[in-house]
Symmetry: C2
Subunit: 231 residues, 2 copies
DNA sequence: GCAAAAGTGTTTAACATACACCCATGG
DNA sequence: CCATGGGTGTATGTTAAACACTTTTGC
């Protein structure tokens, strides 16, 4: 059961932690795309293929801490939202027995656009145009996307993709990008204003047309209700 | 892989699988209670206290299979619904490092009322009146209850607590027991009839008053949308 | 002034809720 | 025939959606 030196007996179960990190990227005139960072594997199995950032769980490290640590080590990113997604542990998903505890995270677009570490083995990908992926990571990403789209409907996680100050149009764009369809500006405004999650400021964003009021997120309201989970 | 000095045996991470199993139990005139089976621990840590049924994950066993197996071994129950709940893996939750993959399950009331194995170390408890529990199992149950109550609102899992044939009043009682409040029979009927999840039969349940039509669950509609999760 | 986005108002439909009412059965 | 739960009808209020309209800026 006990491993002596990392090699040897693989008849035990190893615990890994990975994270699906979502952010947005503005393209041309279209809606922004949902993007995520991937890491190219340097060793077998699946050497050369892209995979979710992650690593082994440390014996004296909490699960969420492991997610944050491996995230920082591989991508140098700090998420504004982090939540457990699912555990994948089927026997056949890796040559040796690995139980992968997968988290998902949101990163603000301004944070995500700071350059990645000087490493051609880390890169951002459009979720609509993913490369070939190692292990079962493709279906993990599909599931995380499904959760993201679901959760955006009944919680306020969209704010996790925006900086402190934002216009209603910017917030709407987030919902539109995740949902994949345009929303009525008038109805969107009423909905979000009535929810008590926004604090209007006295500042305005001046552009090529009528200036738009800047809003701040009301942190008294939780981003997402996770129920009675220990934090 | 890091390993602190000395302390040979329990120095690695062990993976356990536990299950929160819900069922209903009819009392007197009141609403049925939500009940769950617990197992009394026979060894340390927490010897003598009640705990969730579970066991160690086998090296060549899928996660869901481990949940089913440990369930059958300790309680001899077969669930009608089984879903992953959460992974609890904080460093301090057990003397040695244990990552617990917790599932939650539903058992039909008629199945749950077959007697438990001849063993005074397994028993059903009302969720509103739990004994002292081992580890962090109390908060795990709280979380599972929260998930149950939530999910019953947007999916059809209530059927998992009923036998094949049931009246609308019986189905309504399930919702009332889980939600903890009475529902309008007329509106409940319309809601559930309009959802396309019920197939009316030609049979009736005859009791002390006007006979009630028996319904069957429409298995074309999934109990719960779990998204693109591999099954 | 014109284009375009910000922001307001109004109409409509869908839906949940509340509750009045009739129906069918055992006693 | 009456008590009781099964089952139907209907009025009311809340909410989402669709869209017409006014406001404010850059050019």
């Amino acid at each position: 059961m006990t491993r002596s030196n990392g090699e040897a007996a693989h008849d035990d179960i190893r615990v890994a932690v990975s994270t699906v990190i979502f952010s947005l990227r503005h393209g041309g005139e279209d809606l922004p795309s949902v993007v995520l960072p991937l890491v190219r594997r340097t060793r077998d199995p699946h050497a050369g293929q892209w995979a979710l950032p992650g690593g082994w769980l440390d014996v004296s490290e909490n699960l969420e801490a492991a997610a944050s640590r491996t995230l920082a080590e591989t991508t140098a990113l700090t998420p504004s939202y982090l939540e457990q997604l699912y555990v994948f542990g089927d026997v056949g998903r890796s040559p040796s027995r690995v139980v992968s505890i997968v988290y998902w995270a949101l990163v603000r677009e301004d944070v995500a656009s700071t350059p990645l570490p000087e490493d051609e083995n880390v890169a951002w990908f459009d979720t609509a145009d993913l490369p070939e992926l190692a292990f079962d990571h493709r279906s993990i990403i599909e599931y995380a996307l499904w959760r993201l789209r679901n959760k955006v409907g009944y919680s306020r996680i969209a704010h996790g993709l925006l900086p402190d100050l934002f216009t209603l149009a910017e917030l709407r764009e987030v919902y539109e990008a995740i949902g994949g369809k345009r929303l009525d500006p008038a109805n969107f405004r009423r909905q979000v204003e009535g929810s008590g999650t926004l604090i209007p400021t006295r500042e305005f964003r001046t552009g090529s047309h009528r200036p738009a009021r800047l809003y701040r997120y009301n942190h008294d309201v939780e981003l997402a209700d996770r129920g009675p989970l220990p934090r």
